[in-house]
Subunit: 341 residues, 2 copies
DNA sequence: CTGAAAGCGCTTACAG
DNA sequence: CTGAAAGCGCTTACAG
């Protein structure tokens, strides 16, 4: 498929009987060029619909104005809201965005990172694949490119990391349950000690301690894959306990939705008998009934913030950024799966 | 932030005391080069972790191996599954993907298309913004770049278009309702005569005609924004009718979910009194209760197919592609919001 | 204020 | 089988 060639500086130079250098300068508002020349050049350029060849430009300047984004799974609801934030902010600051999926595979993640660097992106924003172990390669690649982590992060990687106030958010969620009279609060968390799961669990523990409630291993359940199905399965386990919980804090909306489905099955009243709180405020949380009380996790803002910090690193040739955490705040949204305070 | 420079052909040439040309050829498996040389070059290249500068390459070859994707909204559930398909297939065929949102704004859509072209993408996959009117600019841009439309398409643009069998899918959905005994089937559709809404409406009409059921304007409702809220609102209107429908076919899952919420409020039994069928098979459709009967719309496959056709056009310099529709099939998934057949 | 020239890293016709 | 050279479209130090 042969397509029309684009207008080049040379063509403009020829038509205006000026040099390519002058055209380039005029178009880039170089102070040296006379206003009249700038005027003439701009006029013809718009007339001819001139658009610089970004590849030639990037090739020359070692800047592509492309940001790479690597996430485990683009079609996760929450991820897609982060992507929205990334796209918006990037566009706003004059950058394009290339997106890749790691599919929660560590090797693929590194591979993607490498291609992106090879590709010449100016920087990368990444949410880590589950169970990312060997940080070594990433550390090496860090010498080649500015990197900002978001959402799924790791303290082992010395770079800017954008996260929500995981611990405090979980604390608030559990505190809310306690304040509405719940005394035996179960938690459904991830088996893997991911940053998010760990912090949320810490918040849960701190809330119980603060209110002098016992921490009982029997109602602390974990799962590899924190899905609706597993939320349901673990809730069934909770229901089989002699001493049942009166509330469930699930560290994701999906697990919470699974919990609600299980409680429904056993005709247990929500929130009277058992209250449920989730985490994310995904669209799903308003569709399930009763509507889910959950932590609003502003994906959009996380994405925007990550872009802001990355571009800042790209554009300011300051000393290397080391470990730095940026925290975005969250709110608890109380719906029908728990009592109003 | 200064980052390490990458290894170049020149460095390899120097170390091996060969010319840059030879290195380039060896790395590209040019038949002229002796096997021993190829061997030596490859060895050093991997040793040095050589990666070609894609910008220099693209600049030289006028090929970037980047595909541009323009969609109205990345954080729509369905869109994100299409994106997943696009990313997978593109990666599989050795292409990178740049994603942009048109935000359903026609001007922005054209603007994005222009930047992508300027950017040097090899081709573009686009889902049209709502109410895309002035096709003129798009037609002009078509001369510069291969374009494939997907999901939201238009017969006015002469290019490859990837869609599902909208009409047949709607026909099947309505036929299912008829076969389970429903006789007065309402439809909730879009006001705008978009390709999708139009085709689905045609399928609805054909089903009623086929089974000799009357088409009654009173139960044909439209809305600008086919959301949960509006699904609920329009269902309230249906419930205020003297002669109520016994089934509702909503052309999106969201509208169907709104319908279910409205029916719930009035304690109407689903599907006994009124059955509901949606369209998309989004995750939401399994979370609402009763679980929604809906058309499974394979976003993943649509995305993949679009990429396949686009890359085919990019790589084969055949005569210009004119209008051509590729249809991906769908299935009706029967859940609890309608009777089993 | 303007131009000639080098060079970014690569590919490829041309020559040998 | 290998190399010297041109050129893709742009920017920028250097010269005037």
């Amino acid at each position: 498929m042969t397509k029309k060639r684009n207008v080049t500086l040379k063509e403009i130079a020829l038509k205006l009987d000026l040099s390519i250098s002058t055209i380039s300068r005029a178009l880039n508002n170089h102070p040296d060029i006379s206003p009249e020349t700038v005027e003439r050049v701009n006029k013809l350029a718009t007339e001819l619909n001139y658009a610089p060849n970004i590849f030639a430009k990037g090739f020359r300047t070692h800047r592509t104005h492309i940001i790479g984004v690597i996430v485990p799974n683009v079609s996760h609801l929450y991820t897609s809201t982060m992507l929205k934030g990334v796209l918006d902010q990037a566009e706003h600051l004059g950058y394009r965005v290339i997106i890749s999926e790691s599919k929660n595979n560590e090797n693929k993640q590194v591979e993607m990172l490498q291609t992106m660097i090879q590709f010449g992106v100016d920087g990368v924003i990444m949410s880590l694949a589950k169970k990312t172990q060997s940080i070594d390669t990433i550390l090496q690649l860090l010498e080649h490119i500015p990197l900002v982590l978001f959402d799924k992060v790791s303290p082992k990687i010395p770079c800017t990391q954008v996260v929500i106030n995981e611990e405090a958010a979980a604390f608030n969620a559990v505190e809310h349950l306690i304040e509405t009279g719940k005394k035996r609060i179960a938690i459904i968390k991830e088996t893997e000690n991911s940053f998010n799961s760990k912090k949320r669990f810490e918040g849960y523990q701190r809330a119980l301690k603060t209110y002098n409630l016992p921490i009982d291993e029997k109602v602390i359940l974990s799962t590899e894959d924190i899905s609706i199905t597993n939320g349901r399965r673990l809730t069934n386990i909770l229901l089989s306990l002699k001493n049942k919980p009166d509330a469930i804090f699930a560290i994701t909306d999906n697990a919470a939705i699974g919990a609600i489905k299980a409680l429904h099955k056993f005709k247990i009243k929500i929130p009277e008998e058992i209250a449920v709180v989730g985490f994310s405020n995904s669209i799903n949380s308003t569709i399930v009934s009763p509507a889910l009380t959950t932590v609003d996790q502003p994906g959009n803002k996380i994405g925007k913030t990550a872009v802001k910090y990355l571009i800042n690193e790209i554009e300011n040739s300051k000393p290397e950024v080391l470990f730095k955490t940026i925290t975005v705040n969250t709110n608890l949204i109380v719906r029908d799966s728990s009592f109003k305070a």
